[in-house]
């Protein structure tokens, strides 16, 4: 059962005790979130079972296809801004022809997974938290538990599969559009031909850049689904609680994406 009774404490006698309690609760929350992730991952073998395949397909569609519009705009403009800023700066030294390499490596290593992560955390993550939160406060998750239907299998696993699978795919799409956006700016604003741009881009980019970026995207997917589901199922106090769960999901996901992104970069490039 993932339904837990509400924890009610007496007000802490002093600020130091309040800080201690906050630290303990953060550790408990992290532990429980990770246990939920492991619990949902253990259900992945049932991905194609009659009971789950429709939900998995629906989530793949919601995460992948329904996010394409906003991802397209964000990816295109990320590449365009990168190309314009670096191109204008490099023009002082006559090096604007290097923007192909700069945009491509930036997109593959950092900006592709990072921007996709932010967009998906804000759109899909918040939607998952709101849905789970509403279900928690209206006793739907408790009802699943009592009926013996595991919410980890029925609710979290399809979302976990969808985000773990779609985040890398969307990142590939973001990378391609970002690089294309950079090429458009290069051609129209900086006087760099498409041939020169792509020649420069692919001369310096390595396969490792792509793989590390996709690995990050995969991790970001896990982060988003874990944070959103945990925040959702622990929501209390009606509409206020659902709003709080949604806000926390976006903030915590953003912070974890930044921090985890940094450490993965350090691990592979130092």
């Amino acid at each position: 059962m993932i339904t837990r009774e509400p924890q009610i404490f007496d007000p802490p006698p002093q600020p130091f005790a309040a800080m201690g309690r906050a630290v303990i609760q953060t550790c408990q929350g992290t532990g429980r979130g990770l246990m939920m992730l492991l619990g949902a991952a253990a259900q992945v073998p049932f991905l194609f079972s009659r009971r789950n395949r429709d939900d998995v397909m629906r989530q793949l569609y919601l995460v992948g296809i329904k996010s394409l519009g906003v991802v397209t705009v964000v990816a295109l403009f990320t590449g365009m801004i990168l190309a314009l800023q670096t191109g204008l700066a490099l023009r002082r030294w006559g090096q604007e022809s290097s923007i192909g390499m700069l945009v491509t490596i930036s997109m593959l290593r950092e900006m592709g997974p990072f921007m996709t992560g932010l967009v998906i955390a804000a759109s899909v993550g918040s939607a998952i938290a709101a849905q789970m939160g509403t279900m928690a406060v209206s006793e739907e998750i408790a009802a699943l538990d009592v009926m013996g239907i595991s919410p980890l299998r029925y609710l979290m696993m399809p979302r976990l599969v969808a985000l773990a699978f779609m985040m890398p795919l969307l990142t590939v799409y973001t990378n391609l559009l970002g690089i294309l956006g950079g090429a458009m700016v290069g051609a129209t604003q900086l006087g760099i031909t498409l041939e020169a741009y792509f020649d420069n881009a692919f001369r310096y980019a390595e396969n490792k850049d792509l793989y590390v970026g996709l690995f990050k995207a995969f991790l970001f997917g896990l982060i988003i689904v874990t944070v959103a589901t945990y925040q959702g199922v622990t929501a209390t106090e009606g509409a206020v609680g659902v709003g709080r769960a949604t806000r926390r999901t976006v903030i915590i996901s953003f912070l974890l994406i930044l921090v985890v992104g940094y450490f993965v970069t350090r691990m592979f490039y130092q």
Partner: protein, 254 residues
Amino acid sequence: MIRFENVTKRFGAKVVLDGVTFEIEKGETFVIVGQSGAGKSVSLRHMIRLLTPESGRVWVEEDCVNEASGRELERILAHFGVLFQSAALLQWLSVEDNVCLPLRQKTRMPDDEIRTRVAERLALVGLEGVGDKMPADLSGGMRKRVGLARAIVTDPEIILYDEPTSGLDPVISRQIDLLIDDLRRRLGVTSVVVTHDLYSALHIGTRVAMLHDGHMVHCSAPEDFIASDHPVVRDFLQAQGIDSMADVRKAFKQ
């Protein structure tokens, strides 16, 4: 069938249940009444381990609910069907899919057999032909009926009703009460009902228990409940304008 042994539950400093002990027999309709915050729903939630006591034990048959874990708990919960206060229907599933859910997820029953069973259960609660509707398209009373159909679709031995008539108008409330009574007679289930509506309690209950300040102050058959001289019970009866069983029967005849 269900036994509370000295169950104590606190929320922060507030003691909601204070050493409560009672037993529910097989096949009866046991109704728990009391004012808001008296611990009625808290008692119900202990039976299905949505809450665990600070001390004491809750037994279902020979199994201790608050000490069970994993498969054992799952086996105990299989005895129960629960109608939640809000009906707790999944909003993105149709009525039929909501009622199907426990069978689809927990059994290997063929799809056509599931559909037949669901149609039967929907008919039993008086909801033929609404299988394709979404929960948002239904009235409060219909939602409760769908919740009830889902609760009985797995043929449970015990049905728990958490405030089955709250938020409903008097006519629909009486219909739900009659339905609960009808289900007990037709399916032979044990029912536990939590309500603050004494007319309901006295009409459908084989025994009525009153919770007050964390204690069970009275527990008896409806006729003896009305005759009780306990001041809390008397206040509760007077507040709802009930002097005798004739008042209750009159309310259901109207």
